[in-house]
Symmetry: C2
Subunit: 378 residues, 2 copies
């Protein structure tokens, strides 16, 4: 018997409802655990069982329904068995909305010291104490089930771009076999998404999409992008793959993006995004506004009484000046990270909501043009 | 003309109302700017125009009415002229309750590199860029008026303990002359407190108290304690000086204290405290509970599902386990500092409120005994 997080046992499979389309762009609703997650959706990243600098109450006040947890990090610390004993990740971090977890594969390929990839899985040394470990598709699913994730991801092989073509050909085959093993390993009714790989080769991307969509997953992701390639390559892969993914399931572009990525990828039919950019940039003092990005430490803001963004209704813009935010950042105050993160995540949520509204109204192209004029004009 | 913070021009002088006494222990109300600040009162320290890790909304939710800002830090960064231009410290940091500022003297004597003390003031090199600066009583008042402080402190000379007796004899004379100059320099109706010095010499403390209370200040502080001396010395000085301070004005013990200090000094008639301990300890993972202090990083809390303190009603204790707090601390997450700080400041506020209630009910001695049994029993 697996002591799953209560409430996940009954009817945890997601349903995707398509609300409207505007060309390939889609507005929908993911029905999950009795919650309605409007798509397109951006998921803040909560690596260590916390979206850095914010409380769950703040995430709720912004309107987020779905956040991401990192399997690799939580497996290492505090340990997924510990989280399971404490009632699962939702209870552990006091988040009663929805959670998606990645497979841990991306971190093994990027953050850890990778030793060897075999048919069985990936041998690596973790980045905390250097211990030698093995991540397999089955272990990843088991960890994600211990965490009690609402949406789990299959383990895939992630290659850097540019990649050797013959290596990619082999890799998408391995990723396919790992995907099947992941599904077979699932002991819960938690949702599971497959992932399309193929590096920068359109034909291999299409081949991978065909293989992965032949398996009955609850949603499909495009992985292995935003790993250093040009925006043109990324958008090219997305526009090739997205139309090949089943229209009745959510489409998730992993590790992306910024406001321009939202516009360009939602335009191709992507429904879900996650990225550390709004939270990481916030801690570095890089703030998103409707007039473009602001580097808050600049001297020009020293005595600037204006809010970050005149168009923004968030608590930060309603209560604090650029001068105060600059001061907090220069003084290395924790409150700087807090207020900056809150604002950036508010800005992302607001933008995604506006895009959705534009799709519903059949105005996506006009919205994109108007947004870009203001955002890039500054 | 001085462009003071609006709302401070009219009737900003404080009134101290004595509500109840229990032996020398006092329960009162400081009426200030239309606000009622119950005493005894603990003031969280907001060095850089923020109580580290918290928002002003959180301070309000705990019930704090009065917080402290550091003149030295704010003069250096962002600069008191900048704060003045932006509408004063209240507006700058979005705090519409009451603010006390220190004189900056203590930081010049402790944090900066002190070069020379003359009749005029203290020559020093600041700790940020090493610039040579001079702080005088007049400059300190001018800075505090630029900040728009509700309660200003006179500049005094702070000596380390143990101190040479002849040096202390001269020092309390200088502190007396600086106190008179501070009062004479005041151009606003902001409140101003005098400070008693005298290091570890009871007779010199009494002499300083007589000199300082001969000047008509809005309140009186005991300074130069909690600078490394034993608790016995500190409590001895407090019990000698407190009864000599005017009963109709607030009595403020600067830079103190912890729960034991509260009990032992309120018992002697102290009304006001400030200390970085609850906030600094929080960031270091040292947490106050009714059963004593907890070091949250300890292995014993790894899978502990209990709240920090079963008796505590704060948001942290109602929503998070010791295991989660330990995890956040070990992972060096900003949320650790946030939740820990919130809890510690809640604990301090709660304890001070309970002490006040005990004084009102004439139960102070019983409260002290009962608190200590539980707090020291663990």
């Amino acid at each position: 018997m697996f002591p799953y997080h209560k409430g996940l046992l009954a009817d945890s499979s997601l349903q995707f409802e398509l609300t409207a389309t505007d060309g390939p762009a889609r507005a929908g609703i993911i029905h999950l655990k009795g919650r309605r997650i409007q798509t397109p959706v951006f998921m803040p990243v909560g690596t260590n069982a916390t979206v850095k600098a914010l409380t769950v109450e703040e995430l709720k006040s912004i309107g987020y329904q779905l956040i991401l947890g990192n399997t690799y990090h939580l497996h290492l610390r505090p340990g997924d068995e510990t989280v399971r004993k404490l009632g699962g990740l939702h209870k552990f971090m006091n988040w009663n909305r929805c959670l998606l977890t990645d497979s841990g594969g991306f971190q093994v390929f990027s953050l850890a010291k990778l030793n060897k990839v075999t048919e069985e899985g990936a041998f690596f040394q973790n980045h905390i104490d250097g211990s030698k470990m093995l991540l397999t598709p089955e272990a990843s699913i088991s960890i994600q089930e211990n965490l009690g994730s609402d949406i789990m991801m299959v383990m895939d092989e992630c290659l850097a771009i540019p990649a050797d073509r013959r290596k990619v050909e082999k890799s998408i085959e391995l990723t396919y076999r790992w995907a099947k093993r992941s599904l077979a390993a699932r002991k819960s009714s938690n949702n599971l998404f497959g992932i399309v790989q193929g590096a920068e080769y359109e034909d291999l991307r299409l081949q991978s999409a065909e293989m992965i969509t032949s398996i009955d997953f609850d949603g499909y992701a495009i992985g292995g992008l935003s790993v250093g390639e040009s925006k043109d390559v990324m958008y090219g892969m997305v526009s090739a793959v997205a139309p090949k993914l089943p229209p009745d399931k959510p489409r998730y572009l992993m590790g992306v993006g910024d406001p321009l990525d939202f516009l360009n990828c939602i335009e191709q039919g992507v429904d879900m995004f996650d990225c550390v950019m709004p939270t990481r940039n916030a801690r570095n003092g890089s703030l998103f506004t409707s007039n473009g990005k602001i580097t808050i430490k600049q001297e020009q803001y020293k005595e600037d009484p204006k809010p970050l963004d005149d168009d923004c209704q968030c608590e930060v813009c309603r209560n604090y000046s650029r001068a105060y935010l600059r001061h907090l950042f220069k003084a290395n105050e924790i409150l700087a990270s807090r207020l900056n993160t809150y604002h950036n995540l508010w800005f992302f949520k607001q933008m995604i909501s506006e895009i959705r509204q534009a799709i519903v109204e059949g105005n996506f192209a006009a919205y994109k043009k108007s947004f870009l004029e203001k955002y890039q004009g500054s």
